[in-house]
Structure formats: C-alpha cells, structure tokens
Symmetry: C2
Subunit: 138 residues, 2 copies
DNA sequence: TTACCTGCAAAGAGTTTGCAGGTAG
DNA sequence: CTACCTGCAAACTCTTTGCAGGTAA
C-alpha cells in the first residue's frame, strides 16, 4: 500500500526514521477519515490489540512528541491527569464529555466568532482554545 | 482579626474543621484583593515560606479539593502536568503565558460573546472555558 | 470521648529517561 | 559502520492514600 510513502515522509519530516513500529503508529493515527482523539494509553492499547505485539512506550512517546512538534498532532487543553491529542490539526474546539471522559469536535463554524479584546504587551497569541464541558442531564 | 470568622465559616460550609493549618491556607488564598492562580506546589511553597513550618500535603490537598467541590475555587483547564486553581470563581477566561507558565485573567467583557451552535442530545453544558495561549514575540 | 485531622511515608498514575542489543541508511 | 531506534525497567513528578498520634467539639 503506497500510503506508507506518506507515512514515511511524515516520519522523516519530523526527524524520525521510518521503522516498522512507527509505521504502525502512523496507520493508526492517520489512516482514517474521521478525527481521532486519544491519550497515550488509548494509543498503546489499540496498538497492542491491532498488531498483537507490544510497542514500547519509549517509541510511542518519542513519535507522538515529534509529530506534535512538527504540527501533525495537536495537544488539547483539558484539565486531566492524562494528556489528550487530536489528529485534527485544523482550527477547531471541543466538547469534553465528563461522563465518559470523551472529546468531541466542535467545528469553527459551530462557535460564534471569538474576539479577544485584551492585549498583553510583548506577547503574541499562539492559540485560542474553547473547551465546552458537558455532562448528562440528571 | 475577625477575618478568621469568615475563613472558619468557609471551612465549615465545605465540611471541614477549622484547624490552624487550614486557617493559614485560607489566609493565603482569600485574604487578598486580586485573583490568585496557583498550583498545589506553589501553595505549598508559599505556606512553608510564610508560616516557617511545613504543612502536610495531605492537608493541602484535602482542603483545596473541598473548596473546589464547594465552589470556592475553580480548577482551570490547561494542558499541563500540574493542576491549576483560581480564587476567582466568577465567569471568566484566561491567558496562559507559555514562557513563564503563568495564568492571567481575561474578564468576560474582554471576550466577545461566545455562542455554541452545536447541541449534544442528552447532554447539558456545564461550562465554557476559553484559554488563550500567548508567548513572547521573537 | 469521638470523629476528624495532621504529618509522614508509601503507593499510584502518567510520563520521561538510561542502557544494551538491534536496525536503517 | 554509525547513528539512531527499540524494549525494558528504573526514575521522576504530581497526586492520593493508609496509618498512628494529635486535636476540635
């Protein structure tokens, strides 16, 4: 499958050698149509299940961090003991469902335009993230 | 100082007995005009410095968590290995300065009204938090 | 006196790192 | 062949918890 070429290029451009383990990670992250929200733990479990072998956490962490540096993944601001990542790197926001600790995308057009009227001298805005926490009605 | 009465009431209404250690925590958190953003570690360091004695982490954690449950403190959603709290419990948002890991308040009026146009069936919106990450121009 | 609290230290969870053998280039 | 990578385990950081002596009511 020539998708691997894309994965190899993603890895190389992130400063990583394309290895069997990293190709597996790429397949899981990028070989899909929909957005994928995950924690390292989710990813590790999925990899173990899909590949029937254990991929080292060292590899998973260094790969994910390189992708994040390169901008192929976004880290999401949630107050949680875990770090959440998102394969959707477009400008968008999130619902966080507190009942099942799940993230749901909120497209930019689903949110009225946000205007930040305060300026911090000498500082540049890097990102504006909106997190809408939701829970069951009860 | 009769401020202690207020602190004792805050503690009692949070289901906690007013002890010497907890009064010290209250003084540090609530005896001030301006907003206070902190991590448990910040708080612990300040307490040690101010009181010249070590207050147990167990006490700090159980006090802070009780205040948070009661709504006297807010937990802020930042992707960080640490948990940030805020003594400003009004509806407001934050800048997060990535250079020095510091939080800065963003009043509700400094942000244009945010309209969430997507609905999740059966789910109720608990909060809408905006985090504006900033860093030095360079 | 009783229930709760404190301090300490150990345990947990998530993440990071050091090292020795293995692999890409 | 060399530099980088993998797997493992140990180490680290932050947070939570168990326990024994101490304190508020």
């Amino acid at each position: 499958m020539s998708n691997n070429t894309i994965f190899i290029e993603k890895l190389r451009s992130s400063g990583l050698r394309p290895t069997r383990q990293r190709i597996e990670i790429c397949k899981l992250l990028f070989d899909r149509k929909d957005t994928f929200h995950f924690t390292i733990n989710d990813l590790n479990n999925s990899l173990t299940r899909i590949t029937n072998e254990k991929i080292s956490l060292a590899t998973i962490y260094n790969t994910i961090h390189a992708f994040k540096e390169k901008g192929y993944l976004k880290e999401i601001s949630i107050n949680s003991n875990k770090t959440y990542f998102d394969t959707n790197i477009s400008n968008h926001h999130h619902f966080f469902d507190e009942d099942n600790k799940e993230l749901i995308d909120l497209n930019d057009k689903d949110v009225g335009k946000v205007k930040i009227k305060k300026i911090l001298p000498g500082k540049k805005i890097k990102s504006v993230e909106i997190l809408v926490k939701v829970a069951n009605n009860n």
